[in-house]
């Protein structure tokens, strides 16, 4: 991790001075907090139910069948209806619903017919509904969360593999470097999209949705780590020939120590600079795959799936494509702004003593 040595502190200060990137970072961080606790904001389960003097907090608990609240069914309570019922009966029971009382999977058709509903504050569908009457805000919200988590995991995996192999190639050089370069060249020529399609056509659908997402992540990582190795390899080569590495070796430092204590901190700026752009690439990739129908398995909420619906209903339900596209643009812009600011503040040429 960053030990806050004076240089790093300087870089961070510089980052704070780049207002556009800094505010983007704050915004995204805020959004991240919201997303983490999303179930409290956008959810069909109530925050608090007070029934016969007892308080229930259904958000994170097991499901409550309707019978728990004096209803006549054994399946999950419909808290919106429960709230209305409590109000009508007026027996001191009450329900506190989240801001948007819908989950991203349920079809809520106020007119009784599944059709896209324009944004409607009275029904609390603030961005309208999609073609199967699911709340767009809920789907966007959870879709973004999944995309972000997915992108972060993707970046972490790609970095671990890319750094390890790239550093090793640069540091050891020789035959190892030569062989791995050829392997990477061959590997990076395998068409990624076809592989995704082929792999997903053989995975049985009985595999759970989370596992399928995991497999998708794995496939994407497998075909994306190669790009990182090039940068790491050249950076390591460059650092390796410097005098301080030679000194370290003379003192008798081990390879691991040299790589992790001496080379890594000096190439960190390259890594950090690339990170936001890797995230952007991951979000775009997952959205594109969803759009094509090869991404996250249905009915997982996703930006790409909404975009697809939106383009198919451009004329009749423009609000679908507007909100999905708007979210995607905003998200990618924020990350890109942060990325630019990081690149600027971490640019080694500004601080490098070898300049």
């Amino acid at each position: 991790m960053f030990s806050l040595n004076p240089q790093t502190r300087k870089k961070l200060q510089r980052f704070r001075k780049i207002k556009r990137g800094y505010y983007s970072f704050l915004l995204l961080a805020g959004l991240g907090v919201l997303l983490a606790f999303g179930e409290l904001l956008i959810n069909s389960r109530a925050l608090v139910v007070s029934y016969q003097g007892q308080l229930y907090f259904p958000t994170y608990s097991d499901f409550h069948p309707g019978t728990d609240f004096g209803l006549d069914y054994a399946y999950e309570t419909n808290y919106r209806e429960l709230k209305i019922q409590f109000q009508q009966k007026d027996e001191g029971n009450w329900v506190l619903l989240p801001l948007v009382p819908y989950n991203p999977y349920e079809n809520h058709a106020p007119g009784g017919i599944f059709r896209p509903l324009p944004p409607n504050a009275a029904e609390q569908h603030y961005l309208g509904t999609d073609t199967t009457s699911r709340d767009i805000l809920a789907r966007l919200f959870y879709g973004t969360r999944i995309a972000l988590v997915f992108a972060l995991l993707f970046t972490a995996c790609v970095y671990v593999i890319g750094i390890t192999i790239g550093c090793a190639m640069g540091y050891f050089g020789g035959v190892f470097d030569l062989v791995f370069q050829r392997i990477i060249e061959i590997w990076s020529n395998v068409p990624f999209l076809y592989m995704v399609i082929i792999i997903f056509s053989v995975i049985p659908s009985s595999v759970a949705v989370t596992t399928r997402i995991g497999i998708l992540l794995l496939v994407m990582v497998l075909f994306s780590w190669t790009g990182m190795t090039y940068y790491m390899r050249t950076e390591t080569y460059k650092e390796k020939s410097r005098d301080y590495i030679a000194s370290a070796r003379v003192i008798g430092a081990s390879n691991a120590r040299i790589i992790f204590r001496h080379i890594m901190p000096n190439v960190l700026s390259t890594l950090v600079t690339f990170m936001p752009f890797t995230i952007v690439a991951a979000i775009s990739a997952i959205t594109a795959l969803d759009f094509l129908g090869f991404g996250l398995p249905a009915p997982t909420p996703s930006l790409g799936e909404l975009l697809k619906q939106g383009t198919a209903n451009l004329r009749t339900a423009p609000w679908i494509v507007i909100s999905a596209f708007g979210t995607l643009v905003a998200l990618l812009t924020l990350v890109t702004f942060i990325g630019e600011a990081i690149r600027e503040s971490f640019d080694p040429r500004t601080f490098s003593v070898y300049r």
Partner: protein, 658 residues
């Protein structure tokens, strides 16, 4: 001839997984004589003649004097004419295909695609055709015919005027050749081999224009079997060998019908066009003269359904199927400016025909699903009424059995199981699922969740499954949705890999339902039962058949065999009811819905006869009774520019509504 292979059947824009890759029996066709294999260099003539000679019981050669004297010849002169005398020839009809045809062949690999109706099914000709109003036969290539029910033979006098599109006359030889052709291994279509080997026992040539055909069974529709036969042009298939599928891949077979595909109109991957033969031999014949009116049918490839619709709205395509509620109510509502201005007409036509059995096909070979209580529970846990109400907006009807729409052969009283959470739970509890887990899904003592895969190959029907899933969760049943590409979905059920599949089979206009394909144990397991009638413990599922439920009951097998052997209509009806009831009792199929109509939007220059279509027709374009009014097209296009409007037209033809 029943359209023997599956056709990718278009109901609005809904692609049904059609398919009867399997024939009715497993009997292998007779192999061609080995001696003929050397004959390919000199064309296929020697091989064909040798084959005729090797099968004298099947291919008979007689003289007109041998015809029975007491035949009553008919040509059903009394039938009402099809089409409208107002129809005008001319103009170009513009349409779209979702995929470019993979071949111009009508048999063999890949020949069974969405373009085949334009090559064969809708524009081809057979000896006689089924009248779409009365279901009687009207003459096509035959001038008249006589049916000898006792000897299971149909005698036919061919129309001497009939010619192929390349000018060659159509003679009795083309019908004999047809049997050789379909039974030949070169075409790589075993279904045909099976069908033409087992359904027919003899074809006899009396002279160039007189033939007789004998059938193996005396079924109520025996005359149709003998008359719905399409000749194969012997002079065209001179070279027949193992290269058949490549050699004829892009060769347009001469047709007795009105439309041909010219080489210059094939733009691979982009568009293809049909051209009307100006001096078509049947141009002045009754039932044919007012049909097939456009001079040219131009079909472009538009892969995306929503783009196809936009092309229609622009006027680049003349008509568009509005079967889906989404199109009828949302994308082209009655209030649409083009509809209100009378440019685009909207039409609903109620028809009567065997209904494609949309529903859940439960694979009883899978664990848990072999338990009848679970299946009955699933039937009670699926809310089709809500699907019909919310997705189809009440336009569709609930299907009651898998064989609805066959008139007397359909069960008169059976009703599908209704959505009922309490009864579903009762049945699930009997199967050991009585406790709800943390997510509300039922679990049994062993901790196993009540969860199944529900897959489909219809992407447009995704929302139907979403509704089912949501409602099933109320009964504690978890349905994991799997929406696949059409081909992949079909492959899955053919490999019997599915748990529950949502699909329908295309239904042809037949008098009585087929049971063998879907319910005979021969199509479920390699050897379903032991000698003593008990279940064979080592049986393996049989793939590539249409028994998607792994339905195997000894009682059903016996009923099916009686049904197939029966030639008595009343007995067949009784057996049919019995089998439908047994199938219902087994609960391996959850009936979904059917659409009792078709509906289209068409620009006002596409004109239709007064009644629009016919009682048993399947779609607006199927019978080619429409015509393109070129003057009206110019007028409409000019009006669009100037803003002039016409009387809007939104018409419902419900004279045949059920």
């Amino acid at each position: 001839m029943k359209k023997p292979l599956s056709t990718l059947f278009l109901a609005g824009l809904i692609l049904l997984l059609g398919g009867c890759g399997q024939g009715e029996t497993d009997g292998a066709g007779e192999a061609p004589s080995a001696a003929a294999e050397t004959a390919t260099a000199a064309g296929v003539d020697a091989e064909v003649e040798a084959y005729y000679a090797a099968h004298p019981e099947f291919f008979g050669f007689k003289t007109p004097a041998d015809l029975p004297a007491d035949l009553t010849w008919t040509s059903n002169e009394h039938l009402p004419e099809i089409g409208s005398p107002e129809a005008r020839k001319g103009g170009t009809q513009y349409g779209a295909l979702q995929d470019f045809p993979r071949t111009l062949r009508t048999v063999g690999p890949d020949s069974n695609g969405g373009f085949r109706p334009f090559l064969l099914d809708d524009v081809g000709m057979t000896l006689a055709h089924v009248h779409p109003e009365t279901l009687e036969l009207y003459p096509g290539l035959a001038e008249s015919w006589a049916v000898d029910w006792d000897n299971q033979t149909v005698y036919t006098k061919l129309d001497p005027a009939a010619t192929w599109s390349d000018g060659e006359p159509i003679t009795a030889d083309d019908y004999l050749f047809m049997f050789w052709f379909y039974r030949s291994p070169y075409i790589m279509a075993p279904w045909y081999d099976n069908f033409y080997s087992t359904k027919y026992t003899n074809i006899t040539r009396y002279d160039d224009h007189t033939i007789s055909i004998s059938m193996a069974e005396r079924k109520p529709d025996m005359d149709e079997l003998g008359m719905l036969l399409r000749p194969v042009p012997r002079h065209f298939y001179r070279q027949m060998d193992d290269d058949f599928s490549e050699r004829y891949q892009w060769e347009f077979e001469p047709t007795p019908g009105p439309y041909i595909v010219r080489d210059q109109d094939i733009r691979k991957g982009r568009s293809i066009a049909l051209t009307r033969l100006e001096n078509w031999w049947a141009r002045d014949k009754k039932h044919w003269r007012y049909r097939f009116n456009p001079d040219r049918i131009q079909l472009s490839v538009i892969r995306d359904a929503s783009k196809m619709f936009e092309a229609f709205k622009r006027g680049d395509i003349d008509q568009f199927g509005l079967g889906l509620a989404e199109y009828w109510y949302e994308k082209l509502p009655d209030s649409d400016p083009d509809v209100q201005a009378g440019y685009i007409h909207k039409t609903v036509f109620h028809n009567q025909r065997p209904r494609p059995p949309f529903g859940l096909w439960i694979n009883t070979a899978q664990p848990l699903l072999d338990n009848r209580d679970i299946r009955v529970g699933i039937a009670h846990a699926t809310n089709w009424d809500m699907v019909i109400e919310k997705f189809f907006r009440g336009d569709n009807e609930r299907l009651d059995t898998a064989n609805d729409g066959f008139g007397e052969f359909s069960h008169p009283t059976l009703k599908a199981r209704e959505f009922d959470i309490a009864r579903a739970q009762e049945h699930f509890a009997r199967a050991g699922f009585s406790r709800r887990g943390a997510d509300g899904i039922l679990v049994n003592e062993a901790g196993q969740r009540l969860s199944f895969n529900l897959s489909t190959g219809y992407e447009t029907m995704r929302d139907v499954l979403t509704i089912l899933r949501q409602e099933a969760a109320k009964a504690g049943l978890d349905l994991r949705l799997e929406v696949l590409d059409g081909t992949v979905g079909w492959k899955q059920v053919q490999e019997k890999q599915h748990e529950i599949s949502f699909l329908a089979f295309g239904r042809f206009l037949e008098q009585y339902p087929r049971f063998w394909e879907h319910y005979h144990s021969d199509n479920a397991w390699d050897r379903a039962f032991l000698e003593d009638g008990s279940v064979n413990p080592d049986r393996q599922p049989k793939t590539q058949t249409n028994n998607l439920e792994a339905f195997a009951l000894l009682e059903m097998d016996q009923l099916i065999e009686r049904y197939r052997a029966s030639s008595d209509r009343e007995e067949m009806i009784a057996l049919s009811h019995q089998m439908i009831a047994l199938h219902h009792e087994h609960a391996s199929f959850v009936p979904g819905f059917y659409q009792g109509f078709f509906r289209v939007g068409h620009w006002r220059w596409v004109r239709y006869p007064d009644g629009f279509s016919y009682k048993h027709s399947d779609g607006a374009g199927e019978l080619f009774v429409h015509w393109i009014d070129t003057d009206m097209k110019e007028e409409t296009l000019a009006a669009r520019r100037s803003g002039k409007t016409f009387e809007p037209s939104i018409t419902v033809y419900d004279q045949w509504a059920e």
